[in-house]
């Protein structure tokens, strides 16, 4: 009865949920290791292996790059170009590492649906963590770079600073930043995952080769766009705190 809506279509092999693999107790709470953890671990191991290989290759880098070194330099130069183009020369060197890391991680997570994994970014836990990192980064840079007086003035923004009537509304809009960032990424990847699961589950006999086109749209195109948008918004929010210079 629980899946009554889907059962009427005669398909009980539709599966896009997160499954628990095993549970353990920590401080009296039951905690589950889920498929998201396993997929995130696979993505992490892949990226770690890639970076170890890249590090070993770049230790004996040659003046004229070839093969693998070409690829690495291309990736780093592209990411540098995006970050420097958005954040400017002052802020970019401090954040290029973080932005590049989350860019590569989110991109690999989003397109891991192609390889039969359930994308880790289709779990709200992952994207909320990413959104919270961005949120704290925004406010730490804000308190580091801007004087307290200006932060207060910005917080009371449309009204003068001695009349903080608008303060609660501005606070809510600050809190909405990580929520909307994480929900945007989560819902985009989840909608792709659900639609692919529906196609494969409902049309199991007919879904032979043509779902590849859907994979290109939902996994590659949508995943790349959302990665770009997440990093772009992170950079825009952070570099707002550098405008005084």
């Amino acid at each position: 009865m629980n899946n009554a809506i889907l059962m009427t279509s005669g398909a009980d092999n539709i599966d896009f949920m997160i499954h628990g693999i095993f549970s353990y107790e920590i401080f009296g709470h039951e905690v589950w290791i889920t498929t998201s953890h396993v997929c995130i671990l696979i993505v992490m191991l892949l990226l770690a292996g890639f970076s170890v290989a890249a590090n070993r290759r770049m230790k004996r880098a040659t003046e004229v790059p070839d093969g693998f070194q070409n690829v690495l330099e291309l990736i780093v130069e592209k990411l540098d170009g995006v970050v420097y183009g958005t954040m400017g020369k002052v802020a970019a060197p401090k954040f290029v590492n973080y932005i590049s890391t989350i860019f590569v991680f989110i991109l690999m997570s989003n397109i891991s649906g192609l390889f039969g994994l359930r994308p880790p970014t289709a779990d709200y836990g992952t994207t909320l963590a990413l959104g919270l990192i961005t949120f704290f980064l925004i406010h730490i840079t804000q308190f580091k770079n801007l004087p307290l007086k200006q932060i207060w003035t910005d917080m009371c923004s449309p009204l003068p600073p001695w009349l903080p009537l608008w303060l609660p509304i501005n606070l809510i809009s600050e809190i909405a930043v990580p929520i909307s960032l994480s929900l945007r990424l989560f819902a985009n990847v989840l909608s792709g995952t659900v639609m692919m699961a529906l196609v494969y589950g409902l049309l199991s006999k007919v879904a032979l080769i043509w779902p590849a086109a859907l994979h290109v749209y939902f996994d590659l195109f949508s995943g790349a766009i959302q990665t770009y948008v997440f990093c772009m918004l992170t950079m825009t929010y952070i570099s707002q705190n550098y405008e005084a210079e």
Binding site: A187, N188, S191, Y228, V229
Partner: protein, 84 residues
């Protein structure tokens, strides 16, 4: 045929999910407007195509969020079933 309270709630959840994804109309119109203005801007100034593209995609992705909220509500109603 007996309709229990649970069946009624499931049926109403399905109707509610259908109503919730009507939220997709707004982002559709908004993204279309953004793409139209982007095309016009490229027509006026073909040299700035890269900048226009990235700005347009960013704006469209932000506009898409409200539609995705509707989708999330539909998903919650269908699969998490908070009312049942």
């Amino acid at each position: 045929m007996n309709i229990t309270g649970h069946d009624l709630i499931m049926a109403c959840s399905a109707i509610g999910a259908g109503l919730a994804v009507i939220a997709g109309i707004g982002p559709g119109i908004g993204q279309g407007i953004a793409a139209g203005h982007g095309a016009a801007a490229v027509g006026r100034n073909p040299g700035a195509k890269g900048d226009i593209m990235s700005t347009m995609l960013l704006g469209q992705a932000v506009a898409e969020t409200t539609g995705l909220y509707g989708l999330l509500i539909a998903m919650l109603l269908l699969f998490v079933q908070p009312l049942a």
